[in-house]
Symmetry: C2
Subunit: 400 residues, 2 copies
Amino acid sequence: MVRVGMVDRWLAERVQRLVAPVAVRLELWDGTSPFSASDPPVGDLVVRDRRTLLGLAVNPDLWFGETYAAGRLAIRGAAEPVVEALSRLSGPAATWRARLGALLAPPNSLRDARRNVYHYDLGNDFYQLWLDPDLVYTCAYYADPAMSLAQAQRAKLDLVCRKLRLRTGDTVVEAGCGWGALALHMARHYGVTVKAFNVSREQLGFARARAAREGLSGQVEFIDDDYRNVRGQYDVFVSVGMLEHVGLRHFHSLSDVLHRTVRRQGGRGLLHFIGRDVPIPLNAWIRRRVFPGAYPPTLAEVTSRVLGPAGMSVVDVENLRLHYARTLEHWSAGFANAADQIKSTYGEAFFRTWELYLAGAQAAFATGWMQLFQIVFTPRESPPPAWTRAELLQQGEVVR
Amino acid sequence: MVRVGMVDRWLAERVQRLVAPVAVRLELWDGTSPFSASDPPVGDLVVRDRRTLLGLAVNPDLWFGETYAAGRLAIRGAAEPVVEALSRLSGPAATWRARLGALLAPPNSLRDARRNVYHYDLGNDFYQLWLDPDLVYTCAYYADPAMSLAQAQRAKLDLVCRKLRLRTGDTVVEAGCGWGALALHMARHYGVTVKAFNVSREQLGFARARAAREGLSGQVEFIDDDYRNVRGQYDVFVSVGMLEHVGLRHFHSLSDVLHRTVRRQGGRGLLHFIGRDVPIPLNAWIRRRVFPGAYPPTLAEVTSRVLGPAGMSVVDVENLRLHYARTLEHWSAGFANAADQIKSTYGEAFFRTWELYLAGAQAAFATGWMQLFQIVFTPRESPPPAWTRAELLQQGEVVR
């Protein structure tokens, strides 16, 4: 074991000061700790070597995740309260460095966009281990807090349909369709026809097979292409969990797409995305390991750069952040249940990366560090889809 | 009668080109018209003299209202379709001039703010002629489209209370309380205590008398002061129809007020205001004659300059623009019913100013040129007032 020297202690005190406001105790590889508060800490961060300590001191946003995944940093006791406490820190200190990192990051060109979805191409088998049976990898809607994950995902699909007030015969374009659950739900329950775009081959294969199996191939076309190549006119535009991957520099492209595809009287659309209260880039480690090119925008960025220039009016915004915290809790539980299989197939570091990403995301939504927005919009002169919200709640099938 | 000369014809053609896209026909004081389309026009604008023609050519945004009020410009046939058609025009052409005008306008200092509410000090008698019995001078909520104005105003008061999930004993601060209807409704039906701020003496006098008459003086304190002087901590912040009068340059002051007054765990607030999809100053004539210093902000301006810096999260946004169009329709009808009395007390020009302002505002909301936003927010780490919207609809008294 490397001896803890003077420089190590100086670095450790620096890192301890960083996490002290949320009562997390740092412990070094020799069992000593610079923690001095009299109240008991919410948990311990065990630093197993000097390299880890250095990483935490220099760029904690990145190295917390890296060293945790490598097993060189451990959480003693229950991980949840520690991760939640730490998520309250990720603020101002990290902002400028992260912003710089975002500026230097490569733009999401059409080719990058394909490469950046590698996450979704990990293999459908992987996601089937811990997502709901319909493979919906976005925030669920717990109409009743006691719902299961599968029920809440179906409730979310239906919530989106009702907010959009889908009518038989409507034409819908979906940008970023995942494994196709929403497109198929809209077609089956609301009698619409859907063109669903995606650049993940694995997902498209699954979605097409499911459409064929369920006799919906005539109503839903799954298209292997980028949202920027959407052409034609539609009654409805919908995008669930894709805006986070667009990146600020391409908001004008999405705006152009909306402007040219949803112009009709009676046209309407919905954007469902992870967002922020204030503009702050995504955590550096998450961007490196889980979501390259991702950026959770503010409402101001989306309304002023996407919707406004497209000639769209905001009809309705709902923030479902606590529903996302609950969703992530369910995902984490499923992930933990499948731990042995995931570790043996993908390795220990992969498991720990995802474990921490899911826990961190849950903490971020629980503490208000991240938001989940659904925005309903219409072309400026079109009426809103409903006169009051009460109509939307009474309409259609409320899945319980 | 002044003869229509060559210059007049040239100016008339210029103005006609401006209104031709919405099929409005210009007619000069000699009965001639430069209108040439083969389809019948939606209505006629009768220009009674050269000065009016010049005003319309040089700055239609301002002079349309000025000359209409003076009776030097008339609308032949039904006024509504003509005003609605014209409101579709007030766009890009006017934008830069209007923006310049807004820059040159004096700031809303504390003293200006008092002077700018002169509109509200016209006399309670005036408003009692055409508002609902509770004197609510903001957008109503027609939970049922067949509601009367009075019912819809009470439904709006209750909608605001339910969105805020008021609980017995909550402390509420209201910025800009009008004639006190909301403060009194909150106190009576939800058992909260309210400090209600206003800088209009006429309104405060009415509100205090009503509170005393209804035995609510112990629960509601009406305070003759500016929103910028709000001090202390509250559970709830609410402001209905005041943000339009704040002005962009003072958004940071409002942000400071929110930051220092609604910080508690469980704190929450609501802003109800006239807004826009894109940043465009208010019509120059309306600013001169009806609302000095007013500016209808975009969602982006409010979220990035008021709520974000105050540490607030947006929980919910609802756009009620069609409810405002309906409200204005009811106000216009009441106004027309009281025409004789208003004209004899305030004069013909005053009557025509208000007639046009009400018709123009109705058209602006009907066509999507203006929006009516209600934003619910909480301090970042506080939970939203409700788990789902369904709870809000079931809670409390739904006034029908």
